[in-house]
């Protein structure tokens, strides 16, 4: 675990396309390698499908599709980050999972307006990671919490 000495909140970082993202480690149940998901006809296009992890059937959100990025062939680095929000458990399919870092929330900055507008609520803040800037992802929005309460 690549934690630093500074006081802060643990985050898991990952990469999708050319950007690095982070989500609170408290939401993360575990990381899984990814081979194939069962296609669910009729589900939103950003749903990669269902996978079975540790005896549980979990829907997986393909973050490339969710973020409007072009598809890439399946690669060994691909990971599913299994997250839990409330009673819901879902997977996030990412290009690669990087590390666990401690981020001081006091240093989070509101993303520039143009970026925020383009990211349509998926990104809540920008944080300075050890090497690069990290986009803090709103997991609830990404896994479609509005679907859960919308109707």
């Amino acid at each position: 675990m690549g934690t630093t000495g500074t006081p802060g909140t643990l985050h898991v970082t990952f990469r999708v396309g050319s950007a690095d993202y982070a989500i609170p480690a408290a939401l993360v149940l575990h990381l899984e390698s990814f081979e194939v998901a069962t296609h669910v006809p009729g589900a939103p296009v950003y749903v990669a499908g269902l996978v079975q992890v540790r005896g549980r059937v979990v829907p997986v959100v393909d973050l490339r599709k969710r973020f409007g990025l072009p598809e890439v062939p399946h690669a060994l680095d691909h990971r599913v980050i299994v997250v839990q929000i409330g009673t819901r458990v879902a997977g996030l399919l990412v290009d690669s999972a990087r590390e666990v870092v401690s981020l001081d929330k006091a240093t989070f900055e509101k993303p520039p307006e143009l970026i925020e507008a383009q990211a349509s609520g998926f990104v809540t803040a920008v944080a300075r990671g050890p090497k690069r800037l990290l986009l803090i992802v709103d997991v609830a929005t990404v896994i479609g919490e509005e679907l859960a309460h919308g109707k």
Partner: protein, 671 residues
């Protein structure tokens, strides 16, 4: 049921046939007991006894004599267990059977004398259940005996064959080929069977297709007889070379047959050993539900690895290896898994009466708030339900009871003005349905549902009660018009419907009469965890569909389906299937799911949508399975027609389809 009225003319015939069956059951039991005393067993008699009870149950069911159905059913289970365990019935079990058959006889007489048959004394059912629990530890099936007949014989039949051969008897395979000429001379399989039966014991008859005339058919008859081959050939109207004695290179010097193992072994086990199932209520252990869940989870893993085993077996068989022995073990293990599953399910059962416990308090407070007088009657008898079903069911029941008190039951003055008692009644009834389902009814004697008001609200005419229910369960349908002043809340019937059908895989029905009252009936499975499904392939993807939802599986000849005219539209194209002259709409499942053009479809699954048959074309069937279904309830994957996921041994989820609920509009889904 008024539908049964037609059959009442058969009561006389029923009494006669039932009397006969009771008589033969009694003499079979005596034969078994006599053999027991001599240290022998009578597998054939056990099997005949089973069939007599089975027939009694079926006939009594048709005539509507429930107490006989009930007794025959439990006796049948007891005897079936004995048959599977090698065909010997312990003395204690014989005693119980005699009691049970006597109880059936009494009720047949009651029917004959036009008296209502007495209800079944619980003590009798308990005694039978106890004997059953005891008998499940019965002797295991004896080793298989003759290779040629091996796979075809049941445990009891094997035991019988083994015993006969060990006593120095002779076994024969006799082949009889029927034909029109023979039939004209009065020689049919029935007469041959009778003639051979007079020479010995017929253990099994197997039909087999033969090339060419006379009828393209032959019967192989397994006969144990000391008669000479020529005598047998004559009796069977067949030639001598068609009577073949079974030589026994395959005799396995297995455990001594039932003769030795029946009574003496079991006599060592104290009769009062207290390991009866929890449900018998003799001794209770409280178990955390999580532990039972765990147990079931383990079982589901076992079932999954069982699929892998089957798959490997099939692969070996396809490669030309001899897998008969393995198949046999696999079949045995399959039965054991099923038994284990049943045992676990039994442990998970809760009494419905307990589930209903919160209702009296609820009704009391609702009635007080609404200033009504309401009496709640609960009648759950001994019905039981899987805890998982009970937990999901309760909200629906609460909803229905709440509606009954809030909306259906009138205010006391209004009731009196209508000539009813001041106090309204809400009844919740529960009854078991044939071992797989329970039926729960919420009845009230209130004002009934106002059809006209619902029709106005729905904006279309309402026909029968089914129409009415269909309108009520529309999501967001608000029925303020029929609500009382005390509560303006909509009924939320869509939720009740969802629980009954989508979550529990059951049914919801409604009967209502103005001024008289309303009955909502929920029919739900005892358990929701393991169901029987057909697996099939569509596109490159495997799916399963519950057997309960399938009417028929048909071959799909290339030229069978015509394409009716189609106006340009978004809907998935529908073809017309000629099904024995009936026009059945045929849809390509691949197209409906937008995963495949459906060109490779070879089979069609016929199901029903809103009561009408609909066929879905799929590529090929992959067999039937018993699977653990996990509900898919995450909003990301909540799609009409996809009701759950299961694991067929591939390690990845396979979707469980509800063909009746699939969206056929062919619309693209939102991003």
């Amino acid at each position: 049921m008024s539908d049964r009225v037609d059959l009442q003319e058969f009561v006389g015939a029923f009494v006669a046939e039932a009397d006969e069956l009771v008589g033969s059951a009694n003499s079979l039991l005596l034969e078994i007991e006599t053999a027991n005393a001599a240290g022998a067993s009578r597998p054939r008699a056990v099997r005949d006894l089973f069939r007599a009870l089975h027939t009694l149950k079926g006939l009594a069911g048709m005539i509507g004599v429930e107490p006989i159905v009930e007794i025959a059913h439990v006796l049948e289970s007891l005897v079936r267990t004995a048959d599977r365990a090698g065909g010997s019935l312990r003395r204690a079990a014989v005693d119980v059977c005699l009691q049970g058959v006597a109880a059936i006889g009494e009720r047949v007489r009651a029917v004959a004398e036009h008296r209502g048959p007495a209800a079944v004394p619980p003590a009798l059912l308990e005694a039978i259940a106890a004997a059953l629990a005891g008998d499940e530890r019965g002797p295991s099936p004896p080793a298989p005996i003759v290779a040629a007949w091996d796979a075809k014989l049941g445990a009891g039949e094997r035991q019988q064959l083994g015993a006969a051969l060990q006593d120095g008897g002779h076994a024969w395979t006799v082949t009889f080929a029927p034909g029109e000429e023979l039939a004209a001379r009065g020689i049919t399989i029935a007469t041959v069977r009778a003639a051979l039966g007079a020479l010995g014991d017929i253990l099994k008859v197997l039909p087999r297709a033969t090339p060419g005339p006379p009828a393209g058919l032959a019967f192989d008859i397994l006969l144990v007889s000391d008669a000479a081959a020529a005598v047998i050939a004559d009796a069977a109207a067949t030639s001598l070379e068609r009577v073949v004695e079974l030589r026994l290179p395959g005799v396995v010097a297995g455990p001594a047959p039932a003769a030795a193992s029946a009574e003496p072994l079991l006599a060592d086990i104290p009769e009062l050993e207290d390991d009866a199932p929890v449900t018998l209520g003799r001794s209770l252990v409280r178990v955390e539900l999580a532990r039972l869940d765990d147990l079931q989870e383990q079982l589901s893993l076992l079932i999954v690895s069982r699929f892998r085993l089957d798959r490997e077996l099939a692969a070996h068989a396809a490669a030309g290896h001899d897998v008969r022995k393995l198949r046999e073990i696999a079949a045995l293990q399959g039965r054991q898994l099923r038994d284990l599953r049943r045992a676990i399910l039994r442990a998970r059962m809760v009494r419905v009466a307990e589930v209903l416990e919160p209702l009296p308090l609820l009704v009391r407070s609702l009635a007080r708030a609404a200033q009504k007088e309401v009496r709640l009657e609960l009648d759950a008898r001994d019905a039981e339900l899987d805890k998982a079903v009970a937990d999901r069911l309760l909200p629906a029941l609460v909803h229905l009871v709440r509606n009954a008190v809030d909306h259906a039951i009138e205010l006391p003055e209004e009731r009196v003005a209508r000539g009813k008692s001041r106090t309204g009644t809400v009844r919740v009834r529960c009854a078991a349905l044939g071992g797989t389902h329970v039926e729960l009814a919420v009845e009230d004697d209130g004002r009934g549902i106002d059809r006209a008001a619902i029709a106005r609200r729905a904006g279309h005419a309402i026909g029968d009660d089914r129409d009415l229910l269909a309108a009520l369960v529309q999501p967001g349908f608000s029925t303020r018009d029929i609500a009382t002043r005390t509560s303006g809340r909509g009924l939320g019937m869509d939720i009740v419907k969802r629980i009954a059908t989508e979550i529990l895989g059951g049914e919801l029905a409604l009967v209502t009469a103005p001024g008289v009252g309303t009955v909502f009936t929920l029919r739900v499975p005892l358990t929701i965890s393991v169901i029987e499904v057909f697996a099939f392939e569509c596109g490159a993807q495997a799916f399963v569909v519950p057997v309960a939802a399938v009417d028929e599986i048909i071959e799909l000849p290339a030229d069978l389906a015509t394409e009716p005219p189609r106006r340009r539209g978004e809907r998935v194209p529908v073809r017309m299937l000629d099904c024995r002259g009936h026009a059945v709409p045929l849809l390509s499942l691949g197209t409906v799911l937008a995963i495949d053009p459906g060109d490779g479809a070879r089979k069609a699954i016929v199901t029903r949508r809103a009561g009408e048959p609909v066929a879905f074309a799929v590529d090929r069937m992959l067999g039937r399975h018993e699977v653990v279904v996990r509900p898919i309830d995450d909003p990301l994957v909540r799609v009409p027609g996809i009701s759950g996921a299961t694991d067929l041994g591939t390690g990845r989820p396979t979707l469980v389809l509800d063909l009746g609920a699939l969206d056929l509009s062919g619309r693209e889904r939102p991003n």
